[in-house]
Point group: C2
């Protein structure tokens, strides 16, 4: 099944999880067509200055894969830099936060896998 | 957990599933750190002229999300065009194939979710 980009849901989330600015979410699966093992599969765009506040993942694992730009993830209480091609995994009750530290969009694929 | 791009596995597959040319696979999770519900989570780069031959997905669903370039997916026996932002889902015994039809790299995120 192919779903054209114009038929995929997009969202704008202000102060997502308490973070700064507005995060753009471009869903990468048609509504209702996400396989049962996933809760989210989307491209997240954080404009300069934007972020997602700290939150925990219980009974699921969130994977980020950096596509463009530069940012940082709060991981184990420490902000660590992220560049294109870097990957992250947060699950088992761990928490994380994400922010753009560059002057261009910071873009990641976000995939939440249920446990 | 953060895995830097230099620590992520990359592969080059010639004539993948019988397709033309060489496909580059950049894994988006550390080896052994893929959540149990996933079999693959990777960025696939198909250079101009390259493709992945037709194959079926049983007991799993493969999602493609187009990041760059232009290509086509064989879907239900018909080649259909794909552009950045388009999404595909192939599972339940369905088969598909993928090919670059443009003059630049055709890049997709590929995520295989076990059923």
């Amino acid at each position: 099944m192919i779903t054209k980009s114009s038929d995929l849901q997009t969202e704008r989330r202000e102060n997502m999880r308490g973070g700064a600015g507005t995060v753009q979410i471009a869903h990468a699966a048609a509504k209702g067509a996400l396989p049962p093992g996933l809760r989210l599969h989307a491209k997240l765009t954080l404009p300069p200055g934007a972020g997602i506040g700290e939150h925990a993942h219980e009974n699921e694992t969130e994977l980020f894969y950096v596509l463009q730009g530069q940012g940082e993830m709060l991981d184990g209480g420490v902000w660590a830099p992220l560049f294109p091609g870097d990957a992250t995994s947060t699950g088992g009750g761990q928490s994380h936060a994400l922010r753009n530290t560059g002057e261009a969009d910071f873009v990641v694929m976000a995939t939440i896998v249920l446990q």
